[in-house]
């Protein structure tokens, strides 16, 4: 049909595909469009991180410890920081009779001299840390970006694994029905009964010390998180299995595999996409949760959770160390959730589980 077909009443009768229709609805939803942009930028930055002009996220610089966010060169910030400390102690010694602090003051002044001496000689003192530095003098901006790479990677790999396992098991259970379905779903029920983060914690605790825990983490998170997808896919397949179009396909002699892959799965695709977008932030949260407890990725790699956890130590004096990774992570999670909500409204307008 022509793109601008008009019927007898001068009404547009342009046929729209499900996806075009969904895209139209998504575009109308400002928050999810914002989410889409933010997620896009995050992924772009994460992909491009190695070629971006960033300081090495592992590079420690003891002259630049705990510097606040600033657009000035690090040397200047460090000197100002040191000067502030000296002023404070001087005030204590001179005006409040704390003569016992005199040795501290001397030490600070000596440090100051050393710092100023290194200013000219050390090229790193021209570094600019717009998000400040951590307790080892590492650039927070670069730490947050590389932390994001790890978090997002775990979210992505976890989601893909969970979705694949979930689809396969859900499709088999839903299509086969009977005993197999019963067995699989009983198993899923029992797994559901377990608090799944606790299982991941156990799995993480079983990793021999010294192995690369990131890989184990991928597996651990993905292994226990296919349950929901499996249930959803199974439910969809069961409800679709008895629908007319599948009957029609079967009556025309289509085989089981063909029915599942050509007819049933494409029809559950919307639900799977929605679930994946909503699942990814929860993976990221879970990984960060483990890293926060010290059971996540191992050093020197750091995820957002590791950074938040490090930031919590000493957040009273150096709040940016907590706030920078916290905000970076939260913004991404917000965007993912907005995007997921938007996709759900767009792809599944009659959705009943609009929680």
């Amino acid at each position: 049909m022509a793109t601008n077909a008009v019927n007898e009443f001068n009404q547009q009768v342009k046929p729209v595909s499900l996806w075009a229709d969904a895209w139209k609805r998504l575009r109308k939803n400002r928050m999810s469009l914002f989410g889409l942009w933010v997620v896009g930028i995050y992924f772009l930055v994460a992909l491009a991180a190695p070629i971006l002009p960033l300081y090495d996220y592992t590079e420690q610089n003891l002259n630049h410890v705990n510097l606040p966010p600033s657009l000035k060169p690090a040397g200047v910030v460090a000197v100002a920081q040191e000067q502030k400390a000296i002023d404070q102690i001087t005030d204590l010694v001179k005006n409040q009779g704390r003569a016992d602090l005199q040795p501290n003051l001397d030490q600070k002044i000596a440090e100051m001299a050393q710092l100023q001496a290194s200013l000219a000689a050390d090229p790193t003192s021209n570094n600019v840390y717009i998000f400040g530095t951590d307790y080892l003098g590492r650039d927070m901006l670069s730490r947050v970006i590389y932390g994001g790479r790890i978090s997002m990677m775990i979210g992505l790999v976890g989601t893909i694994t969970a979705v694949l396992v979930g689809i396969i098991i859900g499709a088999i259970a839903g299509y086969a029905g009977g005993r197999l379905d019963n067995f699989l779903m009983r198993f899923v029920d029992i797994m559901y009964g377990l608090p799944y983060m606790l299982i991941v914690i156990i799995l993480m605790s079983m990793v021999p010390q010294g192995t690369n825990s990131t890989v184990v983490l991928f597996v651990a998170i993905a292994l226990v998180s296919w349950l929901t997808i499996a249930r959803v896919v199974r439910g969809q397949i069961i409800s679709l299995k008895n629908s007319e179009f599948v009957e029609a396909a079967r009556s025309m002699g289509a085989g089981t595999g063909r029915i599942i892959f050509r007819h049933l799965l494409p029809n559950t695709l919307g639900v799977i996409i929605i679930f994946s977008t909503l699942q990814m932030p929860s993976f990221i949260m879970n990984e960060s949760f483990l890293s926060f407890l010290g059971l996540g990725v191992s050093a020197p790699a750091a995820s957002w959770g590791t950074l938040v956890s490090e930031g919590v130590q000493g957040m009273e004096l150096y709040p940016w160390r907590l706030l920078v990774p916290a905000i970076a992570m939260t913004l991404f999670l917000f965007a993912m959730n907005f995007l997921g909500d938007g996709l759900r409204d767009a792809l599944d307008p009659q959705s009943k589980n609009r929680a």
Binding site: N7, E8, F9, N10, Q11
Partner: protein
């Protein structure tokens, strides 16, 4: 049926404001309902039958819906203009409704007794005990066996037909003047349909209740109604006494509808007649006869202007250019 008019719907317009445009679900509907009369409204799905009746007791979900014009005169008052409190004293009391799907129209979490008694207590100011006795009486009238026992059960313990009997009992429990039945049998088995229709006919005749029966089935209106309104795309295209409509249908749409009813007395190998095409989308419909693309007798004027209603005698009116002189 007497000559006393109890409900007068005049040029009623109900529009829904959607993203795609204004849906004129009801666009200038006019009809009268007499005391004790049974009036049938027939039309395809989407023709505006249900919206018309929800508009009568002003139950259009707003937004997106809105009664854009016209009046509904009942007992000297325009229901469209009443406050919500005044309307409430009429709803369920003077004008009550029963709906299409008895499976979902009763609250699944409350006992039948609770749901019936609350209406009676509200409108008839009876105490709970008397109200319960009245409810049991109504259930008995509606043909529910052992009503004393069943009244304390939940809806899911009733079959579809039984639930519709409960709905009818509930709808008639305050002796309303008007009962609006919105496709009361469409969701039921064919064998149950006749029983339910008989029940409605029998009970309302006994209680002197006027009925507005909404249906897409000509067979139902033929057996039940005194008067018939045929709706198409938000308008009443033809209305008149049942015998008139069936014997001398004027509007090509009505003629088509009647021709497309399968008949046992015509057993030849003829194919069953069907009206070609689809009912129109009522968003931003231009001022024309909405039926013309499907009409065998369409003329040039049909595409330009909607015809006014023309009285053809015996209380029979039709909106079609075949019977109206174009100006």
């Amino acid at each position: 049926m007497t000559e006393e008019i109890i409900l007068q719907v005049q040029d009623l317009k109900t529009y829904f404001h959607t993203d795609e445009g204004i849906v004129k679900a009801v666009d200038g509907v006019t009809f009268d309902l007499h005391k004790g009369e049974t009036l049938g409204i027939v039309g395809e799905s989407g023709s505006g039958k249900s919206v018309t009746n929800l508009s009568i007791i002003n139950m259009i979900p707003n937004p997106p819906g809105k009664i854009a014009g016209g009046q509904v005169m009942y007992a000297g008052k325009d229901l469209v203009k009443l406050t919500i409190n005044e309307l409430r004293s009429i709803r369920g009391n003077k004008i009550s409704m029963i709906f299409q799907d008895p499976m979902t129209s009763l609250n699944p979490y409350l006992r039948i007794s609770t749901q019936m008694i609350e209406t009676i207590v509200l409108h008839q100011k009876l105490d709970k005990k008397t109200a319960k006795a009245k409810a049991i009486d109504m259930l008995k009238l509606a043909g529910i066996p052992a009503p004393e026992k069943r009244i304390d059960q939940y809806p899911h313990q009733f079959s579809g037909g039984m639930r519709q009997r409960v709905m009818i009992a509930m709808g008639l429990s305050c002796n309303p003047e008007i009962l609006i039945a919105d496709e009361p049998t469409s969701a039921l088995d064919v064998t149950i349909q006749a029983q339910i229709l008989d029940l409605i006919k029998d009970l309302t005749a006994r209680l002197g209740t006027a009925v507005i029966l909404i249906t897409h089935s000509l067979g139902v209106v033929a057996g039940m109604c005194d008067t018939i309104c045929v709706m198409y795309a938000g308008r009443i295209v033809e209305r008149g006494p049942t015998t008139e409509i069936f014997d001398k249908p004027k509007h090509p749409y009505t003629q088509g509808l009647i021709k497309s009813v399968p008949r046992l007395d015509k057993t030849s190998g003829d194919r069953l007649y069907s009206i070609r095409g689809q009912p129109p989308n009522v968003i931003d419909l231009p001022d024309c006869c909405p039926f013309y693309p499907r009409c065998d007798k369409a003329m040039d004027v049909c595409k330009r202007k909607y015809p006014l209603s023309k009285d053809v005698g015996n209380g029979h009116a039709v909106s079609c250019w075949l019977y109206t002189e174009a100006k």
